[in-house]
Subunit: 220 residues, 2 copies
């Protein structure tokens, strides 16, 4: 198996170079970009829908969605909410790569966008290895997944800039100890900014969108 390691390292460093290109293009256009990562079903698309609904009157928003199939439900949902959306079929790959994002940028009206939300493939492991050029890596957790996730997926929790804990409306019905979850996060990533939200009821979303507005403002 060791023979694959140098190949993987070459591929990852080539990816980093493309990620730097992507970042430069975003910066040239003054666009703030967040890379949203999560387990399947944690609520990436729902968070994007709510975010677009809340911010679209103040800022044009783009969305790039990565899925392992041609099913473009998520991009369609974001488009209906008001974003300019591009769907990427990763062809079975378990993560987005910077070259996919670079190609998607060509399909977006960069000159008028202020915010770009990238919805990565649902996966708590592999996406963390692939830089995309985003300004913030955002992890969306959800209460039904359990409070042990920081302990079991430490690389993901250690590597992100923001955690959004979704589905807090389900807290009465699931076993989830917020303190245990946050202790796990704090041990891996001290001082990490986190938001507790319910995309279903809207609870907590204002803090999240206020944070995004700050980031957007800081880019201009």
């Amino acid at each position: 198996m060791s023979s694959t390691v140098p190949v993987v390292e070459r591929v990852l460093s080539a990816n980093d170079a493309v990620a730097a290109e992507v970042r430069a293009r975003l910066d040239a256009h003054g666009i703030f970009c967040a890379n949203l990562m999560a387990s399947p079903g944690a609520g990436k698309t729902s968070l994007i829908e709510r975010t677009v609904e809340a911010l679209k009157d103040g800022a044009a928003i783009g969305m790039i969605n990565g899925d392992t199939s041609a099913a473009a439900f998520d991009a369609e949902r974001s488009q209906r909410a008001g974003a300019a959306a591009v769907h990427i079929n990763t062809g079975g790959k378990c993560h987005l790569e910077a070259a996919m994002v670079r190609d998607a940028l060509a399909l977006l009206p960069l000159e008028r966008l202020r915010l770009l939300l990238i919805e990565n493939v649902g996966n708590l492991v592999c996406p963390m290895s692939w830089k995309l050029g985003a300004h913030a890596n955002v992890l969306i957790g959800s209460t039904p997944e359990g409070d042990d996730k920081p302990y079991k997926y430490p690389r993901m929790y250690a590597g992100v800039d923001v955690v959004v804990l979704n589905k807090i409306d389900l807290l009465p019905y699931v076993e989830f100890d917020c303190d245990r979850f946050l202790r796990g996060v704090e041990a891996l990533n001290p001082g990490l900014r986190h938001f507790r939200v319910s995309c279903r009821t809207g609870e907590g979303l204002e803090e999240w969108t206020a944070w995004l507005k700050e980031q957007i403002r800081a880019r201009r």
Copy 2:
């Protein structure tokens, strides 16, 4: 990127050879083995706990748990439930490989086991590419993940032998259309056996454990 493909193919075919070795050892001992795959937090460990509690008086059960970290919570939970459990730290890898299972077999009392449950890394993409030598690949879905998962992770749903839909106790609180979910499964994997369960309330678990008992009996 194409340079990685031959390497990946060589690695996968080496893995298949080890999986065949694992299968032969299991068959020599008359052990039925299921490879449980799911998103993080769908309830793999909970299903194993309930299964061990239900079947341990009739059959000695082994459990191999793969996680991306050293945190052995899941193996410990299975052990408390009554299984002989081994924890594998994949060192950040997003899936189990057959060689990891082969090494874990050496730590289990194979001569007395009748059932071996493998808990793969929480991931709906990569584990499907790595055969482990199990007799059945079992996918655990859960209602909070949403009814669109078969459409978005088609390789996983097309490749498994059984689907267990967990957390049906949360149906009143989440948006999940069972018919849409099952239509998606049926289109990818016609006639696929499925069970609807709640590991929390116990609903539906008897059908699942009855199926496992049949598989165990058929091995002797």
